[in-house]
């Protein structure tokens, strides 16, 4: 079975028991609200990058919080067919309800986390960056001459969804890592192990996407 080829992360999906206080935090964290829906009650947030949304906040159906998984951008529609053909597929290929549309498939990993793949989303134009000046003056090299740093108080604008970390039982660790590396074009970046037991453990291995033409991203 060929691997699903991903090129970046799209968004995460959370349910909150108190959506009002959750969304106030998300605004203070630096997300920009882009769409609100009812039934289910959802708020979609974007960053300054080209993804139509990077975070979905939804009203929890009960009094608990829930993480509903992350979604990866795949290279082609064929990757969705690969995902849908797997035994761990739970949805088949369906239309995405979020801004920008597209088609998506959701799987369950060996410990029950949902992991989704999306293709054909309509991307958005980047938002202007709130950075006045990138140049740094060093003791021996001062490129910023007569230009001043003047900032405003406020949230740190989010640009994109970069990575996520899941905690799995030590007994399932090797199986889960193998599941993801067999499923997706991910390779090891770094591995840490427990010096006493020799077992691989948190916070690694961290993995990264292998893209074409020797270019890789974390």
């Amino acid at each position: 079975m060929p691997k699903i080829r991903v090129h970046s992360l799209a968004h995460v999906h959370y349910q909150h028991p108190d959506l009002k206080v959750a969304t106030q935090f998300l605004t203070d964290f630096g997300f920009k609200e882009t769409q609100r829906t009812s039934n289910p009650t959802r708020v979609y947030y974007r960053g300054s990058g080209t993804q139509p949304y990077v975070y979905v906040a939804e009203q929890s159906p009960d009094s608990d919080r829930h993480f509903l998984g992350a979604t990866w951008n795949v290279e082609s529609a064929r990757d969705l067919d690969i995902a849908a053909s797997l035994q761990c597929s739970v949805t088949g290929v369906v239309d995405s309800e979020g801004p920008g549309g597209g088609r998506e498939v959701t799987l369950k990993d060996p410990v029950g986390f949902a992991v989704s793949f999306i293709h054909g989303q309509k991307l958005v134009a980047e938002l202007p960056h709130d950075v006045q000046e990138q140049e740094i003056n060093f003791p021996d090299r001062k490129p910023r001459l007569g230009r001043f740093l003047r900032f405003n108080h406020g949230p740190s604008d989010v640009h994109k969804f970069g990575h996520y970390g899941i905690m799995v039982p030590q007994a399932k660790f090797t199986e889960v890592v193998a599941f993801y590396q067999d499923l997706i074009n991910l390779v090891d970046s770094d591995t840490n192990f427990n010096a006493e037991t020799g077992e691989d453990q948190l916070p690694s291995p961290s993995v990264r996407i292998v893209e074409s033409e020797r270019r890789m991203t974390r």
Partner: protein, 124 residues
């Protein structure tokens, strides 16, 4: 369970402005600001109001297919090179009950809601 989701921000200045914005609002910091070793990124982790951890990061490493995977024993200096020692609340992803509000030097208001058991540093 989910440990955290991480979102890129422009640079260290905007990251620190965002850090103090969240602190002034009384939100609960999970760990940061600091500089990771693996990946090199500047990190800043926060508990949202439901208790999930979200991260701001900037200035991470770029790797390509020539990059050789590393493998080392976990230890005191594998997680970060500068910044606060890693709190137990971060390692366990268990949010403290109350927000910790810093003292306000303008109104001379004392710090509020400090829960010392959650401010303990993990011993690595």
């Amino acid at each position: 369970m989910i440990h955290h989701s991480s979102f890129e921000v422009q640079n260290m200045d905007t990251q620190l402005l965002g850090h103090y914005w969240l602190q002034e609002k009384g939100y609960r910091n999970a760990w940061g600001v600091g500089r990771h070793v693996l990946g090199s990124q500047i990190f800043d982790y926060w508990f949202d109001e439901s208790g999930f951890i979200l991260e701001h990061y900037s200035d991470g490493d770029m790797l390509n297919s020539d990059s050789i995977p590393t493998r080392e024993a976990a230890g005191k200096d594998t997680l970060h090179i500068w910044g606060p020692n890693v709190p137990i609340a971060f390692l366990t992803a268990q949010a403290p009950e109350r927000a910790v509000q810093p003292p306000d030097i303008v109104t001379a208001e004392a710090a509020k809601g400090i829960a010392p058991e959650f401010l303990q540093e993990a011993v690595l």
